[in-house]
């Protein structure tokens, strides 16, 4: 994907893997290709002139929209809304905080859809590159897509410019990519946790928020996690204490929040890169800590 772009491999738009509108049987209306995503980075001369071929679903305010057939992204103004099969629920608990030993990112692993646990073992923390990890909250499908897009863009930048984009710039890039979707039903709340000349923690939301801070928790279980984190978070925590604090915070949230649960995923990011905490380093010999076992441990 990244490589074919760098080589200016011109694919026909209708065969593009994503957003193939030919499947909607409407190839007649020309689609404005170059407006939205002409992300020209600073050194545009090096940038082979390839704009991001990113076909955005037609937004309700665009004039070419009214004649389009019903699309599942954004329904036209004068036709009925597509019925959702179930109510989208953004239930999750993810958190990230900075301490003297780097950044800790933790999340539960439950994907819920209304009242159903759609998947009990979802990865909400995705590595972007060796020193950046992103925790996702909001709509699971949207988050997975945007993580892939972000990975692609960061890799492209690295190949074109020879150095990695800083995390603050990554957050800005992500925020500007999400901006055209403000006001639609897309819901993405990502926390970028990484290391570049120091630990960084930046929260980016599809509403447009982009905040840098020391501690963030996102999702329906976040108030529960905040209570625990605010109380015990110190700069001077040791690595083991930080990991157990993160686990405790996610555990408390899963205990009270119905939409969070199952297991805890933990990542630790330092100057050397990210490490997925395998729990045989801590206590239990399983990769993802099973919360029901943890409950027994804490009760004793």
């Amino acid at each position: 994907m990244a490589l074919e772009d760098v080589c200016s491999f011109k694919e026909r738009p209708v065969q593009h893997k994503w957003f193939s509108f030919s499947s909607l049987g409407d190839a007649a209306i020309p689609f404005p290709k170059s407006d939205y995503y002409n992300l020209r980075l600073e050194t545009s001369e090096n940038n082979c002139g390839v704009p991001l071929h990113f076909f955005i679903p037609p937004l309700p305010h665009s004039s070419s929209f009214i004649n389009r057939p019903l699309s599942s992204f954004c329904p036209p103004k004068n036709s009925m809304t597509v019925q959702r099969p179930f109510r989208l629920a953004h239930g999750t608990t993810t958190l990230g905080f900075i301490f003297q030993g780097g950044v800790i990112a933790a999340a539960d692993t439950r994907a819920s859809a209304g009242g159903l646990v759609a998947c009990p073992a979802v990865h909400k923390i995705t590595p972007i590159h060796s020193h950046l990890v992103v925790t996702s909250s909001g709509s699971g499908a949207d988050c997975m897509l945007w993580e892939r897009i972000l990975i692609r863009e960061i890799r492209l930048y690295q190949l074109r410019h020879g150095h990695r984009l800083s995390i603050r710039a990554t957050a800005k890039l992500l925020s500007s990519m999400l901006h055209p979707f403000k006001g639609t039903e897309m819901c993405v709340a990502l926390t970028l946790c990484g290391w570049d000349n120091g630990p960084k923690l930046i929260y980016v939301c599809s509403d447009g928020a982009r905040l840098q801070g020391d501690v963030f928790s996102v999702g329906s279980g976040s108030p529960y996690a905040y209570g625990v984190l605010d109380r015990e978070l110190r700069w001077s925590l040791s690595k083991g204490e930080a990991i157990s604090l993160a686990r405790e915070a996610v555990f408390r949230a899963t205990h009270r929040d119905a939409y969070s649960g199952n297991n805890v995923d933990l990542f630790h990011i330092t100057a050397q890169g990210w490490i997925h905490i395998a729990l045989h380093h801590i206590m239990l010999a399983v990769k993802m800590c099973d919360l029901s076992l943890l409950c027994h441990y804490y009760v004793q």
Binding site: P199, P223, G227, D230, S236, A249, R252, D257, A271
Partner: protein, 276 residues
């Protein structure tokens, strides 16, 4: 406001001679009339919590009354004593809560005068729940937590011998009909923040001082994060001797102490080089 009062009384005590001769309408409020538009959107922001432990019941609440963005009163009282051994924590619309607390106090006193013994906390919760029932579906919003000690002065003997203190009772009553008995409740917009602290630290064997400090910490954490909770913390401790009230403490002091500590940490942090 008058309509609510009269229907409430009629629903409760039909044998009261005073009210049968009243000429006030008997229909349910708001049943077919247009709702009065609210002057501002009501916000139910608060943090109240109560838990049972070996030393009785500890109840704590913040003191901020908010009105969609305005702090209407920074020193309101959310823990209202109903009688010497029963205390009610209120959440929801403060006007409704104050009214219903008075109605409940009146009914419990009437019961005590008529029957010679105090109504148990469980009975008081049931009474409140039934009194609020006609208003289900209206905009009345009362979420009360009743914390009490049942004395059993002239009650049946079976209540006398208890190993654990089964005399303390904690009930959550809500205007949508919920009535729950439990060991730990926290109500309000700041309740999630308080719940995680309470879940960490509350267990039966706490001492009174530990219980006080955990209740205070839970309210403090909720006021730290929730915009609608804040100002001071009130704490009541209910035991067999009745309720005792701790002096109202301004959480501003705690907030500034923590801020100093974090500032101190930040200066330490700047001195440390970012090595592994």
């Amino acid at each position: 406001f008058i309509h609510i009062l009269c229907v409430g009384f009629l629903a409760v005590s039909s044998e009261d001679p005073f009210l049968t001769s009243s000429s006030l309408p008997t229909c349910l409020p708001f049943a077919s009339s247009q709702s009065v538009p609210l002057p501002f959107p009501m916000a139910h922001g608060t943090t109240t919590l109560a838990f049972m432990f070996q030393g009785g019941v500890m109840a704590a609440a913040d003191t901020r009354s908010s009105c969609s963005g305005l702090v209407a009163c920074p020193a309101s009282q959310k823990i209202l004593p109903i009688h010497s051994h029963l205390v009610g924590l209120t959440s929801g619309t403060s006007a409704d809560c104050a009214l219903w607390k008075r109605i409940l106090a009146r009914e419990l006193r009437l019961y005590q005068l008529r029957h010679g013994r105090r109504l148990s906390t469980s009975g008081a919760a049931k009474l409140l729940s039934h009194m609020l029932h006609p208003f289900k579906g209206t905009e009345l919003c009362v979420a009360a937590t009743l914390c009490g000690w049942d004395g059993g002065e002239t009650g049946p003997g079976s209540r006398g011998e208890t190993t654990k203190n089964q005399m303390t009772e904690l009930f959550y009553v809500c205007s949508d009909g919920t009535r729950l008995r439990g060991m730990l409740f926290s109500v309000g917009s700041g309740s999630p923040y308080a719940y995680s602290i309470l879940d960490q630290g509350v267990h039966w064997g706490l001492s009174v001082d530990e219980a006080k400090s955990i209740a205070r910490e839970a309210v403090y954490r909720a006021t730290y994060r929730d915009a609608y909770s804040g100002n001071c913390v009130d704490m009541y401790h209910i035991t067999s001797k009745g309720w005792t009230r701790r002096n109202r403490e301004d959480l501003k002091e705690e907030y500034y102490r923590e801020k100093e500590r974090r500032k101190h940490e930040k200066t330490e942090r700047r001195d440390v080089t970012f090595s592994d």
